[in-house]
Subunit: 379 residues, 2 copies
């Protein structure tokens, strides 16, 4: 029996399946054109039913941001997993448990300190670890610079201790701050050049370094060529969000995720409509705050997903959202009666989805919820 | 067998039991002094083991922010529950299911529109609902003004249709923006006076209005007297957080909740230490951004909970936190080796706790985790 949007209790997380499939096909087609393999990042969706549509095979490959994601997908038969956060010493036992389940779990690091820790544990446990070195291509957070002395020191130390460098990896997180096609293309090229240069230096020093991995949704979609790269990682493209729309990577009509909310009151002298979705339902993410268009805590659409009168969520408490016109007007704001259902597009798909135990999968043409897809959160 | 902090996998949510008990005793003692009853808000903790220490009896009373909280606590035997968000039409079936389980579930509303909806459903289902009217004491979000014509219209409409007004309720959310004892005391008095005045008007119009309910952690702790008030609600006091410390409601040493994180790398030329707790672990809440002291995404403490060298989390990605000195210095920042365990105090306890499936309950004197207390999230 199909449920309709009108039958759900609010707030609820809505996934427009047709939009999602269109987004997936766009990324797949781009990766095919670039001639590299695809290692989708499951951190955005944390859901088998979504990830299945992203993976080349039932065994993967995938990228994860937590070992809980690795556990979950390993239990579903995925065996080729890259954990793309520098390994912490207290997670190495967990990595070994996953190896014992038959998972080829690749780990990353960006310092000699961590390399020593991994080597010590490998020797003590008589284990092999698949290790990539993280490269800093844009100053965003982690990684060694492609030209850094430490890059070769780490590589040589690993190889001298029985751990061949499996590859190099980078994430151009700064691409989220590029907001023209030209800047996005340039950032994609910067990301590619940095990690290819790092691989070249390791190879010149005698290391094989077979894997050269790049990844971010903006750079993956705007890369013109990926010579020297072997794989692309990306995750948020599957749903997209207002941050991605704000930098021109997608349009608002591509956003597949929304939060269904009910109008529960008004403060007419302020032009406010109050809904039962606050920051717990939307997340506290204000990723559009510094963009050209600040979308508050989310862009307000009608029940069919059409943006409504330039209304945004201008404020949020734990379970209350304050909806108002973008320009702050008080007069002429449409009265949305108590009980009106709205769909609110999120700034950032990852933290919004993280608040919910499942996706209500929407047939956008009928308002019908065709199925529920479970998802998980935590560590 | 007791686990120690050193044996946990990071990130993990740590609850210092002694600090929590001290915070609870402070609130209980204040409520006793004020001579009102206490209806703790469980939205911060969402945990039976914590809430049990807050409740007057195993049956309650409690305040909830979602009907999932009501479901959970009802299943544990709590029968006196106030749902403190204006009721949405699509939640009334759920309210009736809770009534059928023997719960006295009070609902709130702030408009004639919602009152009509509730009356219609009460008549159709031959039900009674326990209804309070929400009062706007500070312009923060919802509620009718104490002097508004609509207050009496709503009251009369409900009573004329067989639903006596059970009471009035307000939440002085603006108290979070008061940052001196004098301002906090004044806001507590403003909250009290507004809701007492609303009750007086309803009573003068012939309605009994037995309940007069106020609630916010800052006003509850700073109220000098609550003449005319019958009950106080508050939730975040149980853990406190940096926002509460920033307005002077507690000290940093009172904060009972922290996130245990591991150092996973460095960017020494920037003065950065990278940890495996990002915004998913801390939440995106930046509630201290506009306070006198901006704590970034959290204040960094050593493993024993002592603030460390004025380090804060200056940036956060999904699973990465960037730790740096508050003043941005690059030189002279202490090197925290990879694997160092840090405890990071959150801006806002509610969204941080919401990311985790349980509390690791800490014996602060020994680094021992004495037990795990499960918690839940969602709707």
């Amino acid at each position: 029996m199909t449920t309709t949007l009108e039958q759900l209790e609010t707030p609820a997380l809505i996934l427009d399946e047709q939009r999602m499939d269109r987004n997936i096909e766009r990324m797949r087609s781009q990766v095919r054109r670039l001639g590299v393999s695809f290692r989708p990042h499951v951190k955005t969706n944390k859901c088998m039913e979504v990830s299945r549509r992203l993976m080349d095979s039932a065994q993967g490959p995938i990228t994860v941001s937590t070992l809980l994601e690795a556990d979950f997908f390993a239990a579903q038969g995925v065996t080729d997993i890259l954990y793309a956060v520098c390994i912490a010493p207290n997670k190495i036992d967990h990595v070994m448990r996953l190896q014992d389940q038959g998972v080829k779990l690749s780990i990353i690091l960006d310092s000699l300190e961590t390399a020593r820790c991994v080597v010590d544990r490998a020797k003590a446990a008589k284990r092999h670890f698949d290790v990539l070195i993280e490269i800093d291509s844009d100053g965003h957070r982690s990684g060694v610079k492609p030209e850094a002395v430490e890059l070769l020191e780490i590589g040589r130390y690993l190889e001298a201790n029985g751990i061949p460098v499996m590859g190099v990896l980078t994430h151009a997180g700064e691409s989220y701050n590029c907001d023209t096609p030209a800047l996005l293309r340039a950032m994609a090229e910067q990301e590619r050049a940095a990690v290819v240069r790092a691989a070249q230096r390791l190879r010149e020093a005698g290391m094989a370094c077979p894997v050269v991995s790049v990844g971010s949704t903006p750079t993956a979609l705007f890369a013109e060529q990926l010579a020297g790269v072997t794989e692309v990682r990306a995750g948020v493209f599957v749903f997209f969000d207002l941050v991605m729309a704000g930098i021109g990577v997608c349009t608002v009509d591509d956003i597949a995720l929304s939060v269904l909310a009910s109008v529960i009151g008004h403060q007419p002298e302020k032009g406010w409509t109050i809904v039962d979705a606050g920051w717990m339902a939307m997340s506290r993410d204000r990723g559009t705050q510094k963009q050209k268009i600040d979308q508050g805590y989310g862009l307000v659409c009608d029940i069919d997903g059409r943006p409504l009168d330039d209304l945004v969520m201008v404020g949020a408490n734990q379970e209350h959202g304050i909806i108002a016109h973008r320009d702050g007007r008080v007069d002429g704001v449409r009265h949305l009666p108590v009980g009106t259902l709205l769909r609110i597009l999120p700034n950032h798909a990852c933290p919004t989805a993280a608040q919910y135990p499942h996706y209500n999968v929407l047939d956008g043409s009928s308002r019908g919820i065709t199925t529920l897809w479970p998802r998980f959160s935590g560590w």
